[in-house]
């Protein structure tokens, strides 16, 4: 059996609940027995529609114990988005906590999905289940985009996950992770694979908090002191807020801090070091496809620097002049030291591929190399520096929002003639979502209908907060849309006064 149940103690600092490993083992066995009774079999997929609590981890391990594949999904997704994912991934079970959104019932019935309330698992079914799977079986699917159209599900096997954790253990050790805090979502590669599972499955204590909660961020220093936290990870936007609103920890327990999922400036880096009372602040570079964290500054003393990442962990980095998967590293032309090019990664922790999307996999993976879509260079010490991104995403406070997901919804609205969504700078989130619209009519009724349409199809964090009504969407001479150019064009206009326009209709 290689689902390791030699885990650490799990804590929920806000509720005060904690599960010792013995309790966790019981919970895993009880759930596995129940799910097996529900005909869950090896190879089946299980959506876990909640997270960041003790039960999530018991469900995750019980799914693995039965040889099934866990698919943690964002609890904020709309029923429309869940339906989109369900139709692609065809799960056997949908695990949830408490009441299920009523509109999901017919969807699940049509797709032969059994919803199960994880809080209602009977107490009396405890028995030791038998694992029946191999290292190369699918373990985890994380959807990174396409929730409104063509979902992009990153499939990791037990082997690729294990490779990531072994690489991290070699690069980072475990001493600093003795009491790890997680305030990132558990449906997110950075939060789940690295912040939570890496230390916890290695026997370290894990303190799990609600994700991106202002109340938590404002109490961060006090929570760190109270629980003698030694390690935590987060994203730059959370740090910007913590630095404004939370007093620094005073007990000196923090040994290491990771910050990832968005660019970290040297200034913010130094502020985090000062606030946390540790120089060991790592600007971690991670991509869900590579099992998240794949590089950081672990090669000795360093000066904080915009874009500095550091040394690879369990990966080889190549900087190439091309992003064409027809000419991966070994075939194409590499960049010289210090020369910016496309960042390619080779790691045993690489995903198996995108779920049911061999076409997408072929566009990203070639000869074992993953084309990241990032731009960067290697310095003379072999440290990676990032300089930008070529893939389209809006980084809203560390939450990735994919413009194509929003376009897919707004384009289908009956009165939409043309549109384009884009990211704009936001002092709170780093970036936020705007949309340029060309509509058949711009009456308040139509705008209210469009807002209702978006709310029905998009999760709250995906909703555009600035709308611009234009006569035409600017295009390049070749007729293509450049989102940055659209954002620039919109900046010259006043956005729709959504608050008054929508409020007036009530």
């Amino acid at each position: 059996m290689f689902v390791n149940l030699d885990v650490g103690v799990l804590h929920e600092p806000l509720s005060g609940r904690r599960w010792e490993p013995a309790r966790l083992r019981l919970e895993v066995e009880r759930r596995a027995a129940h799910y097996r009774q529900q005909q869950l079999a090896p190879g089946d997929r299980v959506f876990i529609g909640y997270g960041n609590c003790l039960e999530f981890f018991a469900d995750l391990l019980s799914v693995w114990q039965l040889g099934a594949t866990a698919v943690p999904v964002d609890a904020r997704l709309t029923p429309f988005e869940i339906e989109t994912l369900v139709r692609v991934a065809r799960p056997r079970l949908f695990l949830h906590q408490g009441e299920l959104e009523p509109s999901l019932a017919p969807i699940f019935e049509a797709c032969n999905v059994s919803p199960l309330d994880t809080d209602a698992v009977p107490q009396s079914e405890a028995q030791v289940p038998v694992s029946s799977f191999t290292l190369d079986d699918d373990a985890l699917i994380l959807f990174t985009s396409g929730t409104t159209g063509d979902p992009k599900g990153v499939v990791h096997t037990h082997r690729s996950l294990r490779a990531r954790w072994i690489a991290l253990q070699q690069a980072l050790g475990l001493e600093s992770y003795r009491r790890t805090l997680c305030l990132l979502p558990t449906h997110f590669g950075h939060g789940l694979i690295c912040n939570c599972l890496y230390p916890w499955l290695s026997g370290q204590e894990l303190f799990i908090l609600p994700p991106f909660s202002p109340q938590v961020i404002m109490r961060l220093g006090a929570l760190i002191d109270e629980h003698e936290i030694t390690f935590m990870s987060s994203v730059p936007s959370v740090w910007r807020l913590a630095l404004k609103t939370a007093r620094a920890p005073q007990k000196g327990s923090l040994k290491r801090i990771a910050c990832g999922s968005a660019p970290l400036t040297a200034h913010l880096w130094e502020q985090i070091q000062a606030w946390g009372g540790t120089s060991e602040v790592l600007n971690t570079y991670g991509i869900t496809e590579t099992g998240s964290w794949v590089a950081g500054t672990t090669g000795g003393p360093f000066e904080a620097e915009d874009g500095l990442i550091g040394e690879p962990w369990g990966a080889v980095v190549a900087i190439m002049k091309s992003d064409d998967t027809a000419i991966p590293p070994g075939y194409g032309e590499p960049c010289a030291t210090g020369e910016t090019g496309f960042v390619w990664l080779n790691t045993p922790a690489l995903m198996k591929g995108y779920l049911n999307r061999d076409d997408l996999t072929a566009r990203a993976v070639s000869q074992g190399w993953f084309m990241t879509g990032d731009l960067g260079y290697l310095d003379a010490q072999g440290r990676l520096h990032l300089r930008g991104r070529t893939r389209e995403e809006i980084n809203k406070g560390g939450m990735k929002v994919y413009p194509a997901d929003i376009d897919a919804v707004v384009e289908r609205f009956a009165a939409t003639r043309d549109m384009c969504c884009f990211g704009f700078d936001d002092p709170l989130y780093g970036q936020n979502v705007g949309v340029a619209l060309v509509l058949e009519d711009t009456s308040a009724d139509t705008l209210r209908e469009l807002h209702a349409w978006m709310k029905h199809h998009l999760a709250a964090h995906q909703l555009p907060v600035k709308w611009y009504l234009l006569d035409a969407i600017p295009r390049t001479s070749r007729g293509k849309i450049n989102r940055d150019s659209v954002a620039e064009a919109c900046a010259a206009h006043e956005p729709v006064d959504l608050a008054n326009m929508l409020g007036a209709g009530r």
Partner: protein
């Protein structure tokens, strides 16, 4: 500035961050801004930015009790205390 003018400035600001699909409401000073549905929980952080830019209040050294950001009255008290 007087508490009355601070009150006016705060209400004007809250109107800019209220949930777009929630009508402007006549909010009592002690009513919870999030529970009332006027703003979402993340918008509390926008209030922090507002206090910083409009009143020069910094919580960086002392931190702030999140409970003090949820009613008009407690926010006005914060302005009186730190502003």
């Amino acid at each position: 500035m007087s508490r009355a003018s601070n009150h006016q400035a705060l209400l004007a600001f809250l109107d800019t961050i209220r949930r777009p699909d929630v009508a402007a409401i006549d909010l009592g000073e002690h009513e919870n801004l999030v529970d009332s549905g006027l703003i979402d929980s993340l918008a509390v952080l926008q209030i922090v930015l507002f206090l910083e830019t409009e009143f020069g209040i910094s919580f960086a050294a002392t931190g702030v009790d999140p409970g003090r950001l949820y009613t008009v009255s407690s926010i006005l008290d914060l302005i009186d205390e730190f502003g």
